[in-house]
């Protein structure tokens, strides 16, 4: 309904334009207005008229006394963009245009941080993109400095700054060496936005197992499995034990529980038992005392 | 006998009614048409029936001595035929309550017809239905009953429209049996045959258990056309030619197989009867017989070719070459007695006891032999794989057709004999025979009707409304779906949902290679088709991306391992967790299949106009009153039996 009304008004304005041009008199409009700020429009002439301010998604209608100043309160015009002012009098129509720009003061940030989960110790593994908006959700196109800060786990806090281009700023950061949650904060002036990211252990770097007899079978168990930074791989990580013996082989995929993987395997003298997780291969045991 | 007398009174009141009212005159005209050459005994006839018990009813061959003997047995003094109104009343009493209870909705195919009708309801001139098999053409199935269903549904909804159309078919069957029987036996026996059709096990089985609307709709049209065929070939009456021709075409528009096979099982015996009777009364020469037979065959053939043109085009371009699907009606009923019960005992019912009589009487009376042979052939083919006859006679069609329709036709062909048997028994055993026959008919009908309860199409009765709602919301219908373990509920679901499926119940219409190459039936019942069914299911799930198949609704957890190992994930539950919804990631939305099978617009126009038009034309033609006949009837002497019989024939 609103758009239909806007369309009608637009049509009215376009129709009235040639007529208006034929009239004498003028409107004194500001060149630019900051979104949300107060401003005024000076009219000339005598009598009553109606002033229409038509912009994207917003129309303001005021009855005015010609020759007086029409004042607009803060917040009357909130959306940035190009506005048309049309003064419709009894015998004449005047018009003009002005721009509403976003407020200089950032009011809100839209912050896209990716990924939400990543391995530790990755160079440029984290990306952050910020869109800077004013208090009225207008994209602030003026160049603004954005600061990014990654903190939360043991290790140095990383800080980067970036300037916005056309309202957007971005950066890349390294993931820390310690697993855990990190806070990724983007800040412009008083406006800040925080995302929580999870740093998880990387590829295993340390995988060792031991074996001992368990009745008729062999109990094999890994030491706590860690990545190259000493982070323990999380429970549920699959560890594959493979036992090769004369003429046969046994395999079992075991999830880590409390940091270690353990299982029972058949006990064959001279059997070779190996352990792997993912594409990382751990140590190998030859059952029968050799190692 | 009180009933018979009462019915006589009833008949008199109709025929002697003197209220000069247009509507009543129309009804009288209609009843006169129903009489079709004297279905209702006129006053004079009734009088003669009383005083001349040897007068035949409509039997066209009064000089046949054997026939006379037989008829003399059957028409006893004071025993007239049961009026047709009483027969219709019996149909009302027996079938109307069952239909109002919507009992056929539990049958195998009722929802299939409703689904087709729902498409015609919304897309009368567009036979391409995208809801099954990712799109299929409804020109692959003659449309007449479904189109009538769609029309009537505008008044009373789809379900009740189905019941209404089915009920009309039941009434037409009684009429058709009456008229067909009168070619072979006397009026009294024909009336018993028509009454038996109301209780006929095969009819009840097809209506309430199988849900074969098309077959049960086409057969009455065909039976009603046959007397016209006889009259045209025997007497050369053009009106009969037109009426019979129109009815034949309408029958074909209802069910092509009925016309195709009915030609051999029903029409050939009738033509043979013309030859048997050619020397009596108005003689018909062999050339005239050949010309008349040939002309009606040619004209009807041409008309059927035009009326069902899109059907033939579809059949010629895309013949049914898919791997045959096993059907229990093709079983050997001795090796598989459970199917023998289903496809022989239930449809035949007490008729099994009449088989010796049919063989003996059919063999002993020469003019009944064509009918006997027609019955025998239909009987043997209807036994499915119990004998090799079906396979020998039908060839590859044996693996495509289902055999219960042959049993149905066999029982229809047997009804004139049943009428004879009834008259014989009643004449001999009086009330005891009436009681026995009533019990036999009642039990036969009851068994066949209740069979849908004892052997339901779906063991688990459940509603699919929740599934339809789920599909219709949140854009789920942008993707295709398939159900598993839904049985014939997939037709009902297809009526209710906007979404398209890759499955369906019309096997001859499907074109997806995954479905046609293995020999399984509906995917939803894959497990019952053994390895071929499961191979087809696996193939279609394998190509889910190709068809935009994102949703699988599982009622039967038997299928879960295939879904789990095939990469489908359970995403929702419906109906108190008795139905699970499975989904596959990364499936693109379904796009309309641009199949070459999509009929062009002109075929859609033909399909929307000609079949229904043929039935309306037939209706108009047969309702034209037989004024000339009645005038003749008044002026002609009524003393000679021969004349009387010929007049009756000249309807």
């Amino acid at each position: 309904m609103r758009s239909r009304f806007t369309f009608l008004l637009g049509a009215l304005v376009i129709t009235a334009m040639p007529l208006a041009l034929a009239q004498t008199g003028s409107l004194h409009l500001p060149g630019t207005v900051e979104a949300g700020s107060a401003f005024s429009i000076q009219s000339t002439g005598n009598g009553n008229a109606v002033l229409y301010i038509v912009g994207l998604g917003q129309v303001v209608k005021r009855k005015v006394q010609l020759g007086q100043t029409v004042s607009f309160a803060p917040g009357d015009l909130r959306s940035a963009g190009h506005y048309l002012a049309v003064l419709v009098g009894d015998s004449s129509t005047e018009n003009g245009a002005f721009d509403v720009t976003a407020a200089h003061q950032p009011g809100a940030l839209s912050f896209l941080a990716k990924p939400s989960r990543l391995a530790v110790d990755l160079h440029d593994g984290i990306s952050g993109v910020v869109y800077v908006f004013d208090a009225f959700q207008n994209l602030v196109l003026a160049t603004t400095q954005v600061s990014f800060q990654l903190s939360g786990v043991a290790g140095a806090t990383q800080t980067r700054t970036a300037l916005t281009h056309n309202g957007v700023a971005w950066t890349k950061m390294d993931s820390a060496a310690k697993e855990g949650s990190v806070q990724f904060v983007a800040r412009v002036g008083d406006a800040a936005s925080t995302r929580v990211m999870q740093l998880v252990p990387g590829n295993p770097c340390h995988l060792r197992m031991s074996a001992r007899p368990s009745g008729q079978r062999l109990a094999v168990e890994t030491e706590p499995v860690r990545d190259c930074n000493g982070n323990a791989l999380p429970d549920g990580t699959i560890v594959t034990f493979t036992e090769r013996y004369k003429g046969g082989e046994s395999t079992v995929d075991v999830p880590l529980k409390r940091g270690v993987a353990r299982t029972d395997m058949p006990a064959y003298g001279g059997a070779k038992i190996s352990v792997a997780t993912g594409v990382f291969v751990g140590n190998e045991i030859r059952w029968g005392g050799e190692r | 006998m009180r009933d018979l007398q009462a019915s006589k009174r009833g008949t008199q009141s109709v025929t002697t009614g003197s209220v000069d009212c247009k509507a009543l005159r129309f009804v009288k005209g209609l009843l006169r048409w129903l009489d079709c050459g004297g279905l209702y005994p006129r006053k004079a006839e009734r009088r003669r029936a009383v005083i001349q018990p040897e007068i035949r009813g409509s039997n066209p061959r009064p000089t046949n001595r054997k026939g006379v003997v037989q008829r003399t047995e059957s028409i006893a003094p004071t025993r007239g035929p049961i009026p047709l109104s009483m027969i219709f009343l019996a149909a009302f009493v027996v079938h109307l309550p069952l239909l109002l209870m919507k009992l056929p909705l539990k049958s195998y195919d009722a929802n299939f017809h409703i689904f087709f009708a729902s498409h015609y309801l919304h897309n009368w001139f567009d036979p391409w239905n995208p809801k099954w098999y990712a799109g299929f053409s409804q020109t692959t199935y003659p449309p007449l009953p479904q189109q009538w269903l769609a029309l009537v549904s505008r008044l009373i909804g789809l379900d009740m429209a189905y019941m209404a159309v089915q009920f009309i078919a039941i009434l037409l069957l009684a009429l058709g049996v009456y008229r067909f029987s009168m070619l072979w036996v006397d009026r009294r026996a024909a009336a018993f045959a028509a009454l038996a059709s109301v209780f006929l096990g095969s009819e009840c089985f097809l209506v309430y258990s199988a849900g074969q609307l098309s077959t049960t709709f086409a057969a009455p049209l065909y039976l009603n056309a046959l007397p016209y065929l006889f009259q045209w070939v025997r007497h050369g009456k053009w009106r009969s030619f037109l009426k019979g021709g129109a009815l034949f075409v309408a029958a074909a528009a209802a069910h092509h197989a009925t016309l195709l096979f009915g030609s051999f099982l029903f029409a050939v015996p009738v033509l043979a009867l013309v030859i048997f009777d050619r020397q009596d009364g108005e003689r018909v020469s062999i050339p005239a017989f050949l010309v008349r037979s040939g002309s009606i065959i040619l004209v009807v053939g041409a008309a059927v070719a035009v009326v069902l043109l899109p059907f033939w085009i579809a059949l010629i371009h895309y013949p049914v070459t898919q791997t045959p699907i096993p059907h229990p009606s093709r079983a050997n009923y001795i090796l598989s007695p459970q199917w023998g019960l289903n496809y022989f005992v239930v449809p035949y019912g007490a008729l099994i006891l009449a088989l010796p009589f049919i063989f003996l009487r059919g063999s002993s009376i020469a003019r009944l032999r064509p009918l006997l042979l027609g019955f025998w052939l239909a009987f043997l083919v209807g036994l499915g794989g119990t004998t090799p006859v079906g396979r020998l006679v039908l060839g590859r069609a044996f693996d495509v057709l289902t055999m219960e329709r042959f049993s149905y036709w066999a029982t229809l062909l047997a009804l004139p004999f049943v009428g004879l048997l009834a008259t014989t028994l009643i004449d001999r055993f009086q009330l005891r025979a009436v009681a026995g026959l009533t019990i036999a008919a009642g039990l036969t009908c009851a068994l066949a009707v209740s069979w849908a309860t004892y052997r339901p199409a779906d063991a688990a009765d459940f509603k699919v409304n929740a599934v339809a709602s789920w599909l219709n919301r949140d854009g789920h219908d942008r993707y295709r779906y398939v159900t598993l373990g839904f049985g014939n509920k997939i037709s009902r679901l297809a009526v209710l949902t906007n979404a398209s499926s890759v499955d369906g119940e019309w096997n001859s219409g499907r074109m997806l290679p995954e479905l046609t190459q293995f020999g399984g039936g509906a995917l939803t019942s894959s497990k019952y088709f053994g390895k071929p069914g499961l191979d087809a299911l696996s193939a279609i799930l394998h190509h889910a991306d190709r068809y935009g198949l994102k949703w699988v609704f599982v009622k039967d957890p038997y299928y879960e391992p295939l879904l789990v190992f095939g990469g489908w994930r359970r995403v929702d539950d419906l109906e108190d967790k008795t139905i699970t919804v499975w989904s596959k990631e990364d499936v693109p939305p379904a796009i309309a299949v641009n199949a070459p099978q999509i009929p062009p617009q002109w075929q859609g126009l033909l399909w929307g106009i000609l079949p229904i038009g043929s039935s309306i034309l037939a209706l108009v033609l047969v309702l034209i009153p037989e004024r000339r006949w009645h005038r003749q009837r008044v002026v002609e002497p009524s003393t000679a039996d021969e004349n009387l019989v010929l007049q009756r024939l000249a309807s």
Binding site: V200, G236, E249, T251 | L380, T387, V389, P557, G566, R569
Partner: protein, 377 residues
């Protein structure tokens, strides 16, 4: 009745009876299909083959009572044990399998005893499996009876098994969340090996996929064959030739078949692995014991599955990856196990490998996936 009439009645009646007899003794294929494997009237067990044939037909009809009563060694086990040998005690693929076909091969015969190999081809929801039994058949009077080699499925004794499993759950973004709140990251997976092969039936693409992440992933692999002009020849996915649920650091083989495409037509292959978050459990843990690679002829990888968890596994799927001496992937095979996996109870499997591939195989690796459900019927 006239003579012709009488004759006609006799002829029709006799012909009807004769046709029914013919149709029953030599049933048409559709009748055979409907009656199952026992479509012929059972012959008297007057020969070892006839006895085994009758037994197989009765098994096909699931006429356990009849089949059991025909056995020569029925005193050694109950009818229930016999039925459970064929259908399984616990829900499994066997439970609802239907006998697709059977064939038998006489091994040797004497006057009073014979040995016959019976191959039963069962059809299941995930494909067919073969059950081969070598049967001793003994003469008892003028009849032959089968000595059924019963396989008694062990019963799990009543016990309490502590459950200490790992499980992942996923909380997705709700509809009320603002657009800046992102969903949990999809698992990171990587194809670590990929190898197209030209086979007679078409092109086969096989490879291995690794879950690099610390969360379980639901994975699929799609491949598109591209022609020299860049157009797509065909797109297929791995369907069940992959383990769709990959736990952290788990590797699955995959195999994608393209029917009726020659490798010479293919310029490049576009691989599209996809992974999504899934709630998963680390249980059950299944050990593969005693893996043996048996070279051609009859090349197969055999072994035993041992369920190390307390949960009964209804259906297990074994995927085998085969490598040559240089460690290059040469084949991927799979096998469904038809019996349920009971806790700590070994169940055998054997997956066949094409003879031409078998000669190249130097090492192999097997993994299992499992389906357990109380709802499975």
């Amino acid at each position: 009745m006239s003579r012709i009439g009488r004759l006609l009645a006799i002829v029709i009646t006799a012909a009807t009876v004769a046709l029914i007899v013919v149709g029953t003794i030599w049933p048409v294929p559709s009748a055979v299909a409907m009656a199952g494997s026992g479509a012929t009237l059972l012959r008297p067990s007057s020969s070892p083959q006839a006895a085994v044939e009758n037994l197989a037909a009765e098994i096909g009809q699931q006429a356990w009572e009849k089949a059991y009563s025909s056995l020569a060694n029925k005193s050694e086990f109950t009818e229930l044990e016999f039925a459970r040998d064929l259908t399984g005690t616990y829900p499994s693929l066997r439970t609802y399998a239907t006998l697709d076909s059977f064939d038998l091969r006489p091994l040797h015969a004497s006057a009073d005893e014979a040995q016959v190999q019976l191959k039963l081809r069962w059809s299941t929801v995930v494909g067919a499996f073969l059950d081969t039994r070598t049967l001793r058949v003994v003469r008892t009077g003028d009849r032959w009876g089968v000595l059924w080699p019963i396989v008694k499925e062990p019963r799990v004794p009543p016990q309490v098994i502590p459950v200490n499993y790992l499980r992942w759950d996923v909380i997705y973004r709700g509809p009320e969340d603002d657009w800046g709140s992102q969903d949990v990251e999809a698992p990171h997976v990587r194809i670590v090996d990929m190898h197209p092969v030209d086979r007679s039936a078409g092109v086969v693409i096989m490879g291995e996929l690794l879950n690099e992440d610390v969360v379980p992933a639901f994975v699929t692999v799609k491949a598109t064959l591209l022609a020299k002009n860049g157009s797509a020849i065909a797109t297929e996915d791995s369907f069940d030739k992959i383990s769709h649920i990959l736990l952290p650091k788990q590797v699955t083989p995959f195999l994608i078949r393209f029917q009726n495409v020659a490798l010479s037509e293919v310029d490049s292959v576009h691989m599209e692995p996809s992974a999504s978050l899934i709630a998963a459990s680390a249980d059950p843990v299944i050990e593969i014991e005693d893996q043996h690679f048996n070279p051609a002829p009859g090349a197969a990888l055999s072994g035993k599955l041992v369920n190390q968890s307390g949960q009964v596994v209804s259906v297990a799927h074994v995927l085998g990856t085969f490598y040559d001496k240089s460690g290059q992937l040469v084949w991927v095979a799979d096998q469904y196990v038809d019996r349920a996996l009971l806790p700590q109870t070994p169940v055998s499997f054997a997956m066949s490998i094409p003879a031409d591939i078998a000669s190249k195989v130097s090492s192999e690796r097997a993994i299992t996936t499992a389906y357990s459900s109380g709802r499975f019927q």
